[in-house]
């Protein structure tokens, strides 16, 4: 049984997403453009989790300038790898 999973790369325009099972929902973001886009990244992450009906998870995003579509995809892949989402 996996306790955490990751997806993505450290290349520019990408992000590494790590997800861990948790009793609550927490989102942590580290980004090279946090000041400009931190709120937007969190909004995208939160909406993606809502769309996947996941509310018990710790999500950590280490961002290297990823656009929204990349953040969404990496979250989905990480959650599939953890076994908490099946599309």
């Amino acid at each position: 049984m996996k306790t955490f999973a990751t997806a993505g790369t450290f290349e520019s325009n990408d992000c590494i997403v790590t997800v861990k099972k948790s009793d609550v929902l927490t989102i942590e973001i580290e980004s090279v453009v946090f000041e400009q886009f931190g709120i937007q990244i969190e909004k995208v992450a939160r909406q993606t989790l809502i769309d996947m009906k996941i509310d018990h998870i710790h999500l950590f995003i280490k961002d290297k300038g990823a656009l929204d579509y990349t953040i969404i995809a990496r979250i989905k892949t990480a959650c599939k790898r953890l076994g908490v989402y099946h599309a």
Binding site: E11, L67, K76, T77
Partner: protein, 275 residues
């Protein structure tokens, strides 16, 4: 018209989001060799998210699948064509059936085409049968895999793939579909790319796959007819028009008799010159 077809690894956001600025005629989003075995799932999720977000107009979208079963996860209305690795008659039949089912399921308005990747000795020998399969609108020679099967090294001259190139061209031309040449893998050698492309074109290839954006411009230019060719073609078509008006069956241009194949070739050149 497919002159240049650019491979883009589907797990590479920086390249995906620039897909439509490179000016290739087609992009091939790669789920096969361009993606590490452990990252196929991530590549599929990224590709779908990308296609959901960006509308790529004026660009043929081709997906090189890893397995036919990938299609259930990545089917999308923006996909025009599937590039099938190691294509043979059996896998093409299965792909056609799968696409028919998925087109109905996803209520797609268009019919998705297939480019067959000819990259095994068997597929080279069966190129004619492969070219006539349903939906197949192009054959792409995969010389790197083929060389591995043949146990030979790739060379700049390409003698080792001469037979395969000709088989692909003759099969494709028989069914009036595209004959697409293998990529030139040394991305720093533009002079080698030019030599290789001109040679492939002289044999009858109609386009060439590429693996780096810096190869596109040269390939696009080389696959367009030369100004001399265009001028001569225009001269022939003008002379034909005049001969038709005068009710002449045969006519000559610059002292050479012009017959139907030459007229057809001139029409093709004018068509190709439009890009």
């Amino acid at each position: 018209m497919r002159k240049s077809l650019l491979f883009i690894p589907a797990n590479h956001p920086a390249m995906l989001q620039n897909a439509d600025i490179f000016e290739s005629d087609s992009v091939i989003f790669d789920l096969e060799d361009g993606v590490h075995l452990t990252e196929k799932d991530a590549a599929k999720d990224l590709l779908i998210s990308f296609l959901d977000t960006f509308k790529l107009s004026d660009l043929e979208i081709i997906i090189r699948i890893n397995k036919i079963t990938d299609l259930k996860e990545i089917m999308h209305e923006q996909i025009d064509t599937i590039l099938l690795p190691k294509a043979d008659q059996k896998s093409l039949l299965l792909l056609d059936q799968t696409l028919t089912t998925l087109e109905k399921k996803f209520k797609l308005k268009k019919k998705i085409g297939i480019i067959a990747l000819i990259e095994t000795p068997e597929s080279v020998l069966n190129a004619l049968d492969i070219a006539k399969q349903k939906r197949v609108n192009g054959l792409l020679l995969g010389a790197e895999d083929l060389a591995t099967y043949l146990g030979v090294s790739r060379t700049l001259e390409g003698h080792e793939i001469e037979f395969a190139r000709n088989m692909v061209i003759y099969a494709a031309k028989t069914y009036q579909i595209d004959a697409i040449d293998t990529p030139f893998v040394n991305t720093n050698d533009l002079s080698g790319l030019k030599q290789d492309t001109l040679y492939a074109k002289s044999l009858g290839m109609s386009g060439k796959a590429c693996i780096h954006p810096n190869q596109i411009d040269l390939i696009n230019t080389l696959f367009l007819p030369s100004i001399e060719d265009i001028k001569y073609a225009q001269k022939i078509l003008l002379a034909k028009e005049k001969a038709d008006q005068e009710g002449l069956g045969a006519f000559s241009v610059d002292g050479k008799m012009i017959d139907q194949p030459i007229i057809k070739r001139a029409q093709n050149i004018i068509e190709k010159s439009k890009g």
